[in-house]
């Protein structure tokens, strides 16, 4: 009787473990769910040493589509614009540093060259190209800092603050350009 019970216990155990091989975690339903002691309870090493990525490469599994299928949303656009404006300002200060180190004349000289060209549209374009990245990154940065405290981390919150940020950034950029 005891022998029969042991055989049944082991076979059910074996089936469960074969269906869900243990690595470093166990699925919700295990042998212990049925009141049976799992022989894998004290496993200290994973079953194989194969990396997740290497295994996928070996089996030549295709990657699910992501960027090509995800619906385009406002929060995506605002986030990537935050990154781009930050990168643009990075370019500005790097350009300023590069110019300071490599160009022979001083800053007022080159400013004089730009003024002497008498193209106010170019000057306006330069102002806008500096003002908008600065103002957008500033306002969206404040939004990020608000998120970092935990506030407004809801779908409605993200959406509404997103519109506020866009409006405020454009307004601030226009104001700064007009100064």
């Amino acid at each position: 009787m005891a022998l029969l019970r042991t055989i049944i216990k082991n076979s059910t155990q074996a089936k469960l473990l074969a269906a869900a091989p243990v690595k470093s975690w166990q699925p919700a339903v295990t042998a212990s769910t049925f009141g049976m002691k799992s022989i894998e309870a004290n496993r200290t090493k994973p079953l194989t040493n194969e990396n997740f990525e290497d295994k996928n490469k070996r089996l030549q599994r295709p990657i699910s589509p992501h960027l090509t299928v995800y619906k385009f949303q406002s929060n995506m656009a605002l986030s990537i614009t935050h990154r781009f404006t930050g990168l643009a300002q990075n370019g500005f200060i790097y350009g300023l540093a590069l110019g300071a180190m490599t160009l022979p004349a001083s800053f007022p000289y080159y400013l004089g060259l730009l003024e002497a060209a008498h193209i106010p549209l170019v000057v306006l374009a330069v102002k806008v190209l500096i003002a908008f990245p600065f103002s957008y990154h500033l306002v969206n940065g404040i939004r990020h800092l608000v998120w970092d405290t935990g506030y407004s981390l809801t779908i409605k919150g993200v959406e509404s603050t997103g519109y506020i940020v866009l409006a405020a950034a454009i307004a601030l950029a226009l104001y700064l350009t007009s100064l």
Partner: protein, 173 residues
Amino acid sequence: MAAMMSLCRNFGKVGLSNRMTIGNPCLAALSNRNKTFLENRIVPSSQNGVKKFTVNHKALAETSSCKSADDHTRLWTIERSLALSLVPLVPSAFMFPSAAMDYLLAISFTLHAHWGLETIVVDYLRPKVVGPALAKLGVALVYGISAFTLGGLFYFNYSDVGIVNAIKMLWKL
């Protein structure tokens, strides 16, 4: 006003709370390592009373990827503090210009830009995609660019008109 104060109070609180270890077995194992004696057996873990997964914390904490994992909290908080300080710093640099303000602005801009650029490079130049050599080279380049930028801005402040004056002169055109 009260909202602002509570916002500032909450700002320093974020960190490696229990909330952040959900779904990340390495961090959960590490935080357990710091707190309690690790048992070398499968232990069920629960967050907010909901059972997430069972894991052998000791074995997991001893894997190489967990051993080299770090708690990014302190640096993260410093990054956010710098970003927060930049918000009043820039307008006040224009309202109360001075040489010291120029240098302070140079340091703050360069540091903030360095962390941002490093994040971008780490995000997109992933070792699995471009190889470990290019990933390391990218980060090294970021350090080089930031060092050069800091030096260049200091040189500009010292031997030329200075950042704030330069922008003011450009705006007067």
